[in-house]
């Protein structure tokens, strides 16, 4: 994977003037993305456009240099990511296009030359790219369907600038970093800002599955792909047939993602999804797979017993890293620098440590299991939605809500009377047509963090109602879908793209120059799963039913029947108490809270005091509030002062003005 950046500039400038006026700016942008592409950084100044690239070499190590330009038309491209079916596309174009390299970047260029920007729908992959077409003086941007790779942009009076990460826009001087009150408020309640908004003022992100066109000083964006989860289920589809088709698609998705000129390894969490991917990959690789896992010293979070069992059975070369609470505290500043987001959970931190281990083992690419829960209905949220609907049909029933307890055997709330639990899940049940019914309890819970906002910051965001913003962002057709499909769509748009694939995904991988590949997010698999009858996914309350059935070919009973275990990491013990790092005491102080001004200093002080004196388990509400406050404080301290890139890294960027 890589990092990309660029901006528009005025036409007709002599090359020397372009170099003098824009060279430094472009090199600083490319240098700020060095972690995404440590193998090479280069910059190209053309008439009307500047393009920068930081390269992590994975395919065609010698020939894939970027920015790449077509000699005949002058069309230029910078590309981050992978088009996994590039060999097939190359074959189709071979008679019409004289390829000069073996690289996937040249295939992208050729596809554009032959089909225009619509070529994006032929790609199976994960990508963010920019294409400049001098013939029509147009800059195109595109992002993959699920939103695996990031792409940010900003419009200013000086021009239009884009980059993989916001930090490059700051390094290029396109924006002075400042928090966007609406983006902050959305993130605190929804776990992510509502696209195209980010937590930074003036910085937007391209929505997943979208294309942007910049020409004549105007921006237009549209979605070229949006999952149709309301599609009519295939009638008469037998479980055996569905299982066959699922297997064929998933095995092909893995096969395509093992394509690389460097070894591909895999993350192994010990759960169903990653264990299944590792089994398939190990079989396709003929026994050379390396696997990587995170273990925790705190027992409630640790899954090493299951990881070791799977790794042992598959005979992978297995490595794991043990992460302690104090390490999470030490990692958090780097986590926030890479994530460029406010977090409600600390779970990304161990993944930054894990990608460090991968990199230390000279590995650049890993398969990872994200997406399965979203497409095959694996989350508790879906089971909960089903139970809540069931309860809503008979509000007076005392026995129906008892089902909720079965959903959460691992949470302390099952120690309570289920009638109290019922009250919590009754949120929103008054209106069963509510398109965001499934997410109301979660958003009501995280919305408690908004109580911590200082009066002045809350006033600046007074116009913003995060739930209303999500509702406004939903395409009209989603309202007509079944409740589970609506829940699924919301989950994919908010938590998956906005948090799991970004703050907890790409950013934690790229922080150590490692590329993640996500077989479950192959769009053919997403579309296949969407057209399955609901009963094949969530059967009663048995989640991912069809996937489990298929997985039985590969995995032992102990893994198949293992209760679902949410991946989480400790936070309170990481930031408060004897093991906490020095920055935590400093940034969580009353004075620091007052300086940043987002949160009410007295409440921050009370929260820290409460958690310092704790004798029992820390509640989810307090954990989330603490993580949000700490990561906001870090964001303000690290990113808002003008970002500076070390001069020797700027000097390392090769610059060409043509």
């Amino acid at each position: 994977m890589c990092g990309i950046a660029g901006f528009t500039l005025s036409y007709g400038l002599p090359a020397e003037e372009r170099r003098a006026r824009f060279g430094g700016r472009l090199r600083r942008m490319a240098a700020s993305l060095r972690h995404r592409g440590p193998d090479d950084q280069s910059a190209l100044l053309l008439d009307g456009i500047a393009l920068g690239h930081a390269r992590l070499s994975i395919v065609d190590l010698a020939g894939g240099a970027q920015p790449m330009r077509d000699p005949d038309t002058g069309v230029a491209v910078v590309f981050n990511g992978e088009i996994f079916n590039y060999l097939e596309l190359r074959e189709q174009l071979r008679s019409r296009h004289a390829f000069r390299t073996r690289s996937d970047t040249e295939v992208l260029l050729a596809c554009y030359l032959h089909r225009g920007i619509d070529c994006v729908i032929d790609f199976i992959g994960q990508f963010a790219f920019a294409i400049y077409d001098p013939r029509i003086r147009t800059l195109w941007l595109a992002r993959d369907r699920a939103g695996i790779l990031p792409l940010h942009y900003t419009e200013t009076p000086e021009g239009f600038a884009f980059a993989s990460e916001a930090k490059a826009l700051f390094a290029g001087g396109w924006r002075t970093p400042a928090l966007d009150p609406r983006g902050v408020k959305q993130t605190l309640q929804l776990w992510s800002p509502v696209v195209p908004r980010t937590v930074f003022e003036g910085v937007s992100q391209l929505s997943p599955g979208s294309v942007a066109r910049w020409s004549d000083g105007r921006l237009a964006t549209w979605r070229y792909w949006d999952p149709d989860l309301g599609v009519e289920p295939r009638v008469g589809l037998e479980a055996a047939q569905a299982e066959e088709e699922l297997g064929a698609l998933l095995e092909d998705a893995v096969r395509l993602r093992l394509r690389a000129d460097v070894p591909v390894a895999a993350y192994l969490s010990g759960g169903l999804d990653s264990s299944l991917l590792c089994s398939i990959a190990q079989s396709q690789l003929g026994g050379t797979l390396a696997t990587f896992s995170v273990g925790f010293a705190e027992r409630g979070f640790d899954e090493r017993a299951f990881q070791d069992e799977v790794a042992g059975r598959l005979a992978t070369r297995h490595r794991s890293v043990l992460v302690s609470s104090s390490e999470i505290g030490e990692l958090l500043p780097a986590v926030v620098r890479h994530a460029e987001q406010i977090l409600l959970r600390s779970a990304p931190a161990p993944l930054l440590r894990l990608s460090g281990l991968v990199r230390d083992c000279d590995t650049k690419v890993v398969l990872t299991g994200e997406g399965s829960d979203e497409i095959f209905l694996g989350y508790d949220l879906y089971r909960e939605t089903r139970v809540r609907q069931f309860c809503a049909r008979s509000p007076a029933s005392k026995s129906r809500p008892a089902l909720l307890r079965r959903l959460y055997p691992y949470l302390p709330m099952s120690q309570q009377g289920h009638e109290l639990l019922q009250q919590f899940f009754a949120i929103g049940l008054d209106d069963p047509q509510d398109p965001v019914l499934s997410h109301r309890p979660r958003w009501a819970a995280s919305g408690r963090i908004l109580r911590f906002l200082s009066r002045s910051f809350a006033e600046r965001a007074a116009e913003e109602d995060p739930v209303a913003s999500v509702l406004a962002s939903l395409p009209a057709r989603v309202r007509g879908w079944k409740p589970l499909a609506r829940a699924q769509y919301l989950e994919m748009q908010t938590l998956l793209a906005g948090y799991l694939l970004s703050a907890q995904g790409d950013r934690m991988l790229m922080g150590n120059s490692v590329e993640g590949r996500f077989p479950f997010l192959d769009h053919r698999l997403i579309e296949f799963a969407a057209a399955l009858p609901e009963r094949l996914k969530l059967r009663g309350l048995a989640e991912k039913w069809i996937l489990r059935r298929y997985a039985a070919r590969w995995l032992p009973q102990t893994i198949l029947e293992r209760p679902k275990y949410p991946y989480r990491a400790p936070i309170a013990s990481a930031l408060i108490g004897p093991e906490a790092p020095a920055w935590a005491a400093e940034l969580l102080s009353r004075e620091a809270a007052r300086q940043v001004g987002v949160f009410e200093e007295v409440k921050v002080e009370k929260l820290v005091a409460k958690l310092s004196a704790r004798t029992t388990a820390v509640s989810e509400a307090d954990s989330q509030a603490l993580t949000a406050v700490a990561t906001t404080q870090l964001l303000a301290h690290q990113m808002l002062p003008s970002a500076s890139v070390p001069q020797r890294e700027v000097d390392a960027v090769r610059l060409e003005a043509a």
Partner: protein, 82 residues
């Protein structure tokens, strides 16, 4: 400080809520989350020297300030009477 003010003070301090009415449902209005209910129950037991049984963990007893106050009053009277 009277009973109502003590319980209200605990809720304001523990759950960082500014303003809520005596009849607001703690759970439906997201004033307190489910683990927070455990904190509240522990506080009531310690502060007022009562013991709350599993059967008493129902919304009618615990899901608003008014209900909690009434419930605690009743428990204390029963305790004194016994």
């Amino acid at each position: 400080m009277n009973l109502r003010a003590r319980i209200r003070g605990f809720i304001v301090d523990s759950f960082f809520v500014d303003d809520f009415s005596d009849d607001d449902s703690f759970l439906r209005k997201s004033i307190i989350d489910s683990l927070g209910m455990l904190e509240l129950i522990a506080f009531l037991e310690e502060e007022f020297g009562i013991k709350i049984t599993d059967a008493e963990l129902v919304p009618e007893n615990l899901d608003s300030l008014a209900r909690v106050c009434a419930f605690v009053e009743k428990k204390r009277q029963l305790g004194t009477a016994a």
